[in-house]
Amino acid sequence: MNDSCLIYTGERSSFLRGECPVNICEIQGLTRDYGKGRGIFDLSFSIQQGEIFGFLGPNGAGKTTTIRHLMGFLKPVKGSCRIKGMDCWKNRADIQKNLGYIPGEMAFFDDMTGAEFLSFMAKYRKMKASGRKQELLDRFELDERVKLKKMSKGMKQKVGIVTAFMHDPDILILDEPTSGLDPLMQSRFIELVLEEKARGKTILMSSHMFEEVERTCHRVAIIRNGRLAATDSVDALKAAQVKKYVITLESEDSASAFAGEGLQVSAVSQNRVTVTVQNDIKELISVMNRYPVTNISAPNQSLEEIFMQYYGGDRS
């Protein structure tokens, strides 16, 4: 072992001494200005070996542009990006040997069936056998005999997933990989990602949903208007996250009484009360016990909300 390093365990201010992490992917000062404030500006971050890195941002924030640079589709105008020490533009073909990619938008050769496309890709990549293809097809219950043109969005997404994973690459770049998948398949995909994580794969996963990233990633970068807003561990983001609950009571009277209990109430409408909780969920539970509660739900929070909470409402 070389020098030992302090390893961030994912909890705030908690480090362990261990082997130095190897940066698989390094982005430095990456800039591409499309004008009118669109593009990416001075992005810098790195992804360590064996890490699942979430890349979060609303639509149009610059996630795909960054990924296109990593894939060697775009030449950096300013700054650089490297994977395994190799330049993403100059050494793109070498990098691709050990990389799997799910594009943000699926476009295939429409006249092929799924099976024809997968075997084309396997041969095109010069794979010796079909790799993990069959296992992945079974896992995602994909009927590969259908023409790609006739496939639904979800089916196309599955073909994309199989293509990205079938050659068992060490690095995976996944651009909104679960879009179009139904909830069952989304969770199968997350299982797959967690398995790959256990096998030591390095994964960059972009998303516009915090929940998706929350279940899989170690660290997240949040990108906003083309600029890196934050890079932090998922746990730190979660700790800062303010949970929101909607409690439905039997009557409007009990709702207004409930709202007067000294909890952080953000809205009351008819018999429904919206409560925000930072840390102390027990207090809410004990209050709920004393009231005729008929339902409780926790609506999904948008990335924007989480972001605002993380920065204490400072949107600038």
Partner: protein
């Protein structure tokens, strides 16, 4: 430099088009050759005498009573210029620009295959198609002539004429392919890839038509393919062929370089 899987895929994509083009060529070749009459001059020559201007526009001017000149005038003045040109326009777009436009190029470049290999392979597909078309036309010409007029066709000269047409078509193909590699948008790729050769062809038609417009021939690369000169064995005609061929090589090389250096927004 070449990916066989992609090459096979490309050939699958163009063979139907090739079959249709070959079928149409077969029809024209048999009809036109049957109009040749070694003793009396042909029916077409009568047309040419009756309507010299119109026939001249499409390059149909009888040179001499020989079969090879007859074919050069009536098949290699229009048909063999336009048909492979249309093939080039369609296939060049299909092989590169359409993949970039629709996004399916993603899968070709998100693999351990160099972009130069992708472009080189697609170029080979197009080259194979053009070669197949001209080769088929050569064989077709020889066979139809031998069946109708045994021994009349100067086969060597005819093959040279086909080599000339191949050089011209490779040059046109180079323009289409460069345009396909340059533009990210299919409609611009086709617009420019079809526009430049079409303009060249129209200028040639104008130059053929009128004496006052004759100098227009210096404004089009079609002039470099001089079928009468090739048949007469003129050095200038051979030089034209060589220029076209070298030009084609340069155009394809530029196309590959452009494709491997450009930003792909896919």
């Amino acid at each position: 430099m070449m990916n066989w899987t992609l090459y096979k895929r490309g050939m699958q994509g163009i063979w139907k088009m090739l079959v249709i083009f070959c079928a149409v060529l077969t029809m024209y070749f048999t009809i036109i050759v049957s109009m040749f009459d070694p003793a009396l001059g042909s029916v077409l020559d009568e047309f040419a005498k009756a309507m010299p201007d119109l026939m001249a526009v499409v390059g149909m001017t009888p040179a001499s009573g020989e079969l090879v000149s007859f074919m050069a005038a009536y098949l290699y003045g229009f048909l063999m210029l336009v048909f492979p040109m249309v093939f080039s326009i369609l296939s060049a777009n299909k092989l590169i620009a359409r993949h970039v436009d629709r996004g399916s190029m993603t899968y070709l470049v998100a693999a351990p295959v160099r972009r130069t290999t992708v472009a080189f392979t697609q170029m080979k597909v197009m080259g194979t198609g053009l070669f197949a078309l001209v080769f088929y036309a050569s064989m077709l010409g020889i066979v139809t002539c031998e069946l109708s007029f045994p021994g009349e066709l100067a086969v060597g000269t005819f093959l040279l004429l086909n080599a000339g047409v191949l050089c011209l078509q490779l040059f046109i193909g180079g323009i289409c392919f460069l345009s396909s590699c340059f533009f990210n948008d299919s409609k611009y790729a086709v617009g420019v890839g079809a526009g430049i050769p079409a303009l060249g062809f129209i200028i040639q038609m104008m130059a053929n038509a009128g004496k006052e417009l004759e100098n227009a021939k210096y404004a089009t690369f079609f002039t470099l393919f001089d079928s009468d000169g090739i048949i007469a064995g003129e050095a200038g005609a051979y030089a034209g062929m060589a220029v076209l061929f070298i030009g084609a090589v340069a155009l394809f090389a530029a196309a590959i370089a452009v494709f491997s250096k450009k930003d792909l927004h896919i």
